[in-house]
């Protein structure tokens, strides 16, 4: 049906009506006092969500733009960086460091597996002359539904002294990312994920240690020069024209998040994660990531006996539910259920119910009809 689309993809995520309404207001001048108040409130609430006293800067850019800014502002040509890669986004940050002439050293594991913190510890301990200037880790690897152990890796990076740079695009707002407690120096994310607003804003949290590195960092930048954003942010403004209406949206969304409370937000996502995984198991379909490293934001499924793209197609056409497919070499092999941001228990039950109907339509009979919903409902009712 027209106008019935339900997003269960890892971004863009569903947007609340009050956020859409806020966004539809007429723009005001971005150099006005009224807009300054919005910048101040949004910035303050972003710090709350990041659990940090660090600067949190707002760019008119996607999450990739924000992450690139987070990398290039604190390094110089030839600097060695250690990049954890176990999916498309880890690979992307290595492409960024390559593009800027940094010495990229990949610490890779297979897609679908979590990065090995022990490998980071060993590599960092062996770097006695401190050649490694930064370590880049994707917290929630959107392409595979794996969450990496950022906390442990960051503790090793802190002991070493390099900068810890984290892509938290699909983890912030879905799970706790205590930036100060974990000593994360650079933390990048994008608006169309846990923040519950449409894409177009990128966020970068920057520690005092990173600002120290900024002073001598020599990679070229202008639009992505975070020093300019910091200077402007101190005056509740932005160096370049901000995406004004997305600020309206962000203001509304962050107010909703504050009303829900951090603990409740994280508990909701954990419940959705467990319910999704329990349901998929009950449907006898293999989960692509193991339980220990399943992301609270995305559940990737590698169906056997039925085609992943066919499942997505029927879900879309018959039930107006958008699921994500696999990326790169996983195209056609997995499908991904996004459950981050403005997603409720009801939404997850809906998606599982439709998935059961889809599987029946496709003749997949390796499950007891109703088993998926029974398993999801059990998780939800017990939480």
């Amino acid at each position: 049906m027209d106008d019935k689309l339900m997003l269960m993809i890892p971004g863009p995520t569903p947007v609340p009506e009050q956020v859409l309404s806020a966004m539809a207001k007429h723009p005001i001048g971005h150099r006005s006092g009224d807009f300054g108040k919005i910048v101040a409130e949004v910035t303050q609430n972003l710090k709350w969500l990041h659990q940090t006293q660090n600067d949190v800067l707002i760019l008119a850019a996607s999450g990739t733009g924000a992450m690139e800014a987070g990398i290039i502002n604190f390094l110089s040509p030839g600097d060695r960086v250690l990049v954890g890669t176990n999916g498309k986004f880890g690979e992307r940050w290595a492409e960024v460091t390559d593009a800027y002439g940094l010495q990229t050293e990949r610490l890779s594991v297979d897609w679908g597996k979590p990065l090995d913190p022990e490998a980071f510890r060993q590599r960092l301990e062996s770097d006695t002359d401190k050649q490694i200037k930064a370590v880049i880790v994707t917290h929630s690897e959107t392409s595979t539904g794996v969450i990496n152990d950022l906390k442990t890796i960051s503790s090793y990076v802190k002991a070493h002294g390099a900068l810890m740079m984290a892509d938290t695009v699909t983890s912030l707002g879905a799970t706790s990312v205590p930036v100060d407690e974990w000593s994360l120096d650079v933390v990048a994310s994008g608006s169309q994920k846990g923040y519950m607003i449409p894409p177009g804003l990128g966020f970068v949290a920057v520690s005092a240690k990173a600002w120290e590195a900024y002073k001598t960092a020599k990679l070229p930048r202008y639009y992505l020069d975070l020093g300019k954003y910091r200077k402007s942010s101190a005056k509740d403004t932005t160096p370049f024209t901000p995406a004004i209406n997305l600020f309206y949206a962000m203001q509304a969304a962050l107010r909703m998040m504050k009303a829900e409370g951090l603990e409740n937000i994280f508990a909701r996502h954990e419940r959705l994660r467990q319910a999704a995984r329990a349901a998929v198991k009950a449907l006898n379909m293999p989960l692509y990531a193991a339980d220990e490293c399943g992301s609270p934001a995305i559940t990737a499924v590698m169906p056997n006996g039925v085609d992943a793209e066919q499942i997505r197609s029927v879900m879309r056409k018959r039930f107006d539910i958008a699921l994500a497919g696999g990326q790169d070499h996983l195209k056609g092999k997995i499908f991904r259920i996004g459950h981050l941001g403005f997603v409720s228990d009801r939404d997850l039950l809906t998606a599982i119910a439709a998935l059961e109907a889809t599987l029946q339509e496709l003749g997949y009979d390796s499950f007891t009809p109703g088993a998926g919903i029974a398993a999801a409902a059990k998780v939800i009712s017990n939480s």
Copy 2:
């Protein structure tokens, strides 16, 4: 009064209700066929507005981000660039080229004066060994309300062989910028201007000659790498998550522009320009830019006998009309009336009427009450 704000600044410009409504729709997946259709339509209509067959690429970025992309994708470290500077934005592009280690050569005139095409001709003719790789010109200098003679300068650049890079942020959609006819290689603009939508999208048109330079250009970039956008654009998509809801807005705004027609849009802006200038003259206030180089998008006024900031303040507080102030050393010395985008004859009459009332309130008596409106109405009724 609350909710009565009227924007007469050079960006953000007023946004039509149907554009705001379009923007308030739920986002859809940006990798879907439905979104691909929107990308295709918007791209096609952008080419129409640019009067070009060249690629027109869409970034989630401000106009500055788009312009930086336009510069850095086609040059290598140490390349010499000639930058015309006669205002804040010309200066900004020189800052960008400096930031990237290019050899920046400024061709400057005083703020408020137009760039001298003859100076470009002479400098380019003297560059017999073709050291100059690119020439950067701001078409409509938003900070001063001056429109530069891009057409003539571009003809000299073409004869020389360098790349012609133009900032058309406040000219595109306000006056004719025939990209192909003028041989403009790189043309950058932003959504919150003539396009009638909120800020957050940047546009770059790129010629075949620029793509040829791209092949050997070595400045680092990733998020702003236009090659990625070109490749994706050919498949009606974007390399990074697009600002989906701003695409909805853009789709609606471009449909409105097509319905109005290029000639009518340009005639309307020319009429607004003439009416604004006639009114200001009738109020016996000096125009900051001469008639020959007054921008169709912005009219800058340097009042004497009354304080520019006081005028802005009364206009804002008593009449809910936002005017722009001066930037950098012009702060407090000029005010600027934006009349680009979704601005009608009625809006201009409103602004002039309120300006007259403001001047009376401030005790400025160097004009005959009603003279401003009389002059503006004469222009409008004769057009």
